[in-house]
C-alpha cells in the first residue's frame, strides 16, 4: 500500500454541501448538454436559497462531451467566477471536484462553488461505445485487438479477480438485483422494473464474465451541488451536509489514460485499496461508522473491489459479504440506495453525491435509511478515483 500522506485532506468539517439539483434522467433529453447543465446548476443554487449572483466558482469534469464551466457560468449569468475549471476526467473525478471546490474556497479563489456533471450519455456521446475508434497513443496497444469499450476493460479486471479469489455469476447478480430493488423506490430512477436473479442470469452475455445487467445504464441528464463554508452553511435554508473528509488517488503505474491498465500491478485491487488510509484518516472515522454508502458502480463488479479496498470486508470476501445481505437497505451497509449507475442512471457518478446528501437530510422517502448520519461516496473503478465522507 502507498505511504499515507503526511497530511490527508485537511479541511475536515470546514465546508458543506448546501444545495443539490438535478434534471430528469432519460434516454433522449432532446436538449443540449448546456441546457441540462444550466437546469441542474440553477436547481442546486435555488435549493440552497441562493441566486446565481451569489455563486463565484464553478467546476465540472468531462470527456469532451459536456458544456464547459464558462459556458454554464455564462448561461447562469454568474458575474464574476474566480474559479472555473473543467477536469478532463471520468468518474474518477466525481468526488474530486467537490473536494477541489472546498480547496478553492479555502484558498480564497471563491466563496460559493457550484459543481456539476452534465451529459447526453445515451442520445449523444455514448461512453459505452468505447473510446475514440483510433489506435494511437495508449490505444495503439489495445484497440487493434478489439479491446475498445469500458465493459471490455473492466471485464479484464473482473476475470483476474475471479482467478485469484473465485467469483460466481450469482455473486455479481446479487448486486444488480439489490440495486434494482432500491431503484424501484426512487422516482428518479430510469429502471424501476423488478429484477430477479433469473432475470439477471438470463440477460445477454456481453463480454465474459459480464452480462447485460452487470453493466450500467446510459443516461441523458445532469446533476449539481453547491459547496460553501460551514460558517455560511449554518444560516442557509437546507440542513448542511458537511464534508468530513476525502481522498483522491490510486497506486503506482496508473497508466497512460483511464482505460490503460497494462502496467497496473494487481488487477484484483483497484484505486480504493490505495486511498483507504487517507480517506478514513481525513474524516477520523472508520468503515464501521458509515451508515449509507453510494459506491461507484459502472459495473456490478466495481462495488466488490471497493468494498474490499476500503475495508468493509477482507480481500476476496466481497461476494460473500453481499450474498449475506449486508448491502441491502436493511443490511449493515446499505449501498446505492438510489439504484446506482446500474439502475438509477449514469450521471458519471455525480448522482451518488446527490443521493448521499438526500439521505443525510432525511429526504429519501421510502428508500430512506433511518437515522443516516454518515455517508460514503466513491468515484472511479480502475486505477484512480476519489471518495468522500459526508455527515449531517
Amino acid at each position: 500500500m502507498a505511504t499515507a500522506r503526511r497530511s490527508a485532506y485537511a479541511l475536515k468539517d470546514k465546508y458543506a454541501i448546501v444545495g443539490i439539483g438535478t434534471t430528469d434522467y432519460s434516454a433522449n433529453s432532446g436538449r443540449t448538454v448546456r441546457a441540462l447543465a444550466i437546469e441542474a446548476t440553477a436547481n442546486a443554487i435555488a435549493d440552497a436559497g441562493l441566486k446565481p449572483a451569489d455563486v463565484d466558482g464553478i467546476v465540472s469534469y468531462n470527456f469532451n462531451d459536456s458544456a464547459p464551466a464558462i459556458a454554464v457560468a455564462t448561461g447562469l449569468d454568474i458575474p464574476n467566477a474566480g474559479y472555473a475549471v473543467d477536469f478532463l476526467a471520468g468518474g474518477n473525478a466525481a468526488n474530486l471536484i467537490v473536494l477541489s471546490a472546498a480547496a478553492a474556497i479555502e484558498a480564497g479563489l471563491a466563496d460559493v462553488v457550484v459543481c456539476y456533471r452534465a451529459m447526453n450519455g445515451r442520445s449523444g456521446f455514448r461512453l459505452g461505445g468505447g473510446r475514440e475508434f483510433r489506435a494511437l497513443g495508449p490505444t495503439q496497444f489495445t484497440a487493434p485487438f478489439g479491446w475498445i469499450t469500458y465493459p471490455q476493460a473492466m471485464a479484464m479486471w473482473c476475470r483476474r479477480y475471479q482467478v485469484e479469489y473465485g467469483l460466481t455469476p450469482e455473486q455479481l447478480g446479487n448486486v444488480a438485483v439489490t440495486l434494482r430493488e432500491n431503484a424501484s423506490l426512487n422516482p428518479r430512477a430510469m429502471q424501476r422494473k423488478p429484477m430477479s436473479m433469473e432475470d439477471y442470469l438470463a440477460s445477454r452475455p456481453i463480454v465474459d464474465p459480464f452480462r447485460m445487467y452487470d453493466i450500467c445504464l446510459e443516461t441523458d441528464g445532469a446533476c449539481a451541488v453547491v459547496v460553501t463554508s460551514a460558517e455560511r452553511a449554518r444560516d442557509m435554508q437546507q440542513k448542511p451536509v458537511y464534508i468530513m473528509g476525502g481522498a483522491y488517488g490510486g497506486g503506482p503505474q496508473q497508466g497512460d489514460d483511464l482505460f490503460d491498465c497494462i502496467r497496473w500491478p494487481d488487477h484484483s485491487k483497484n484505486y480504493s485499496h490505495y486511498i483507504a488510509d487517507d480517506l478514513w484518516r481525513s474524516a477520523g472515522v472508520t468503515a464501521g461508522d458509515v451508515d449509507v454508502a453510494e459506491i461507484y458502480d459502472c459495473f456490478t463488479y466495481s462495488i466488490l473491489m471497493q468494498l474490499e479496498g476500503l475495508g468493509f470486508c477482507g480481500l476476496g470476501e466481497a461476494g460473500g459479504f453481499i450474498a449475506d445481505g449486508h448491502i441491502r437497505r436493511d443490511g449493515k451497509l446499505p449501498v446505492n440506495t438510489h439504484g446506482g449507475l446500474l439502475s438509477e442512471g449514469y450521471i458519471h457518478g455525480f448522482n451518488h453525491v446527490i443521493e448521499a446528501v438526500e439521505q443525510l437530510r432525511g429526504q429519501s422517502g421510502p428508500r430512506q435509511v433511518p437515522d443516516a448520519e454518515i455517508a460514503l461516496t466513491t468515484a472511479g473503478a480502475m486505477t484512480c478515483g476519489s471518495a468522500m465522507i459526508l455527515r449531517r
Binding site: F141, A143, G146, W147, Q152, M156, D208, Q253
Partner: protein
C-alpha cells in the same frame, strides 16, 4: 466502409516511442524495451524507464513465450459491423516470459479453452499492407 475488402478495424499509428515495436512486428520480431541502467524490461514503450527514470532504453527481442494473466471473451460486437464476424473472440493480458504484460488476442483455440496461466507463444498476423499484429496461440 469504402469496400468490403477494406480493413475496418483500428490500425495502430506508430509514434516516436513505439515505431521500433511495430517495425519489429513487421519483421516477425517481438521487441520490448530494456533499461541499460536498471535492467528492467518495459512495455508499452516510453521515452523513460518507469522503474528508474533512466532514458537509456534499448530494444530487446522477447522470446515470444508467455502465459495468460487475464482474459475476456467478447460476445457482443462493438462496433457491430466491424466485429460481427469475429465474436466470440478472446482478448488477453499476456504476461511475457520477460515479465511485462501485453494485450493481444488468443487465436488457435476455442474461447472456452482459455484458462489462467495457459502457456502461449507469439504468432504474427499481417492485417494491412503496413501493419502486422502480434497475436498469441497455445504453446
Amino acid at each position: 466502409m469504402s469496400s468490403p475488402e477494406a480493413y475496418a478495424k483500428p490500425v495502430p499509428v506508430p509514434d516516436p516511442d513505439s515505431a521500433p515495436f511495430w517495425a519489429g512486428c513487421r519483421e516477425g520480431r517481438l521487441l520490448i524495451q530494456h533499461c541499460d541502467d536498471c535492467s528492467s524490461h518495459q512495455f508499452p514503450p516510453s521515452n523513460v524507464c518507469a522503474q528508474c527514470g533512466s532514458g537509456r532504453l534499448g530494444w530487446h527481442q522477447a522470446s515470444g513465450a508467455g502465459k495468460v494473466f487475464s482474459w475476456i471473451v467478447v460476445r457482443h460486437p462493438v462496433p457491430k459491423p466491424v466485429y460481427a464476424e469475429d465474436v466470440p473472440y478472446v482478448v488477453a493480458l499476456v504476461e511475457l516470459a520477460e515479465g511485462v504484460r501485453m494485450p493481444s488476442n488468443i487465436v488457435g483455440c476455442a474461447p472456452e479453452a482459455v484458462v489462467a496461466d495457459m502457456p502461449l507463444k507469439v504468432t504474427f498476423r499481417q492485417v494491412s499492407d503496413e501493419v502486422v499484429l502480434p497475436l498469441f496461440e497455445p504453446a
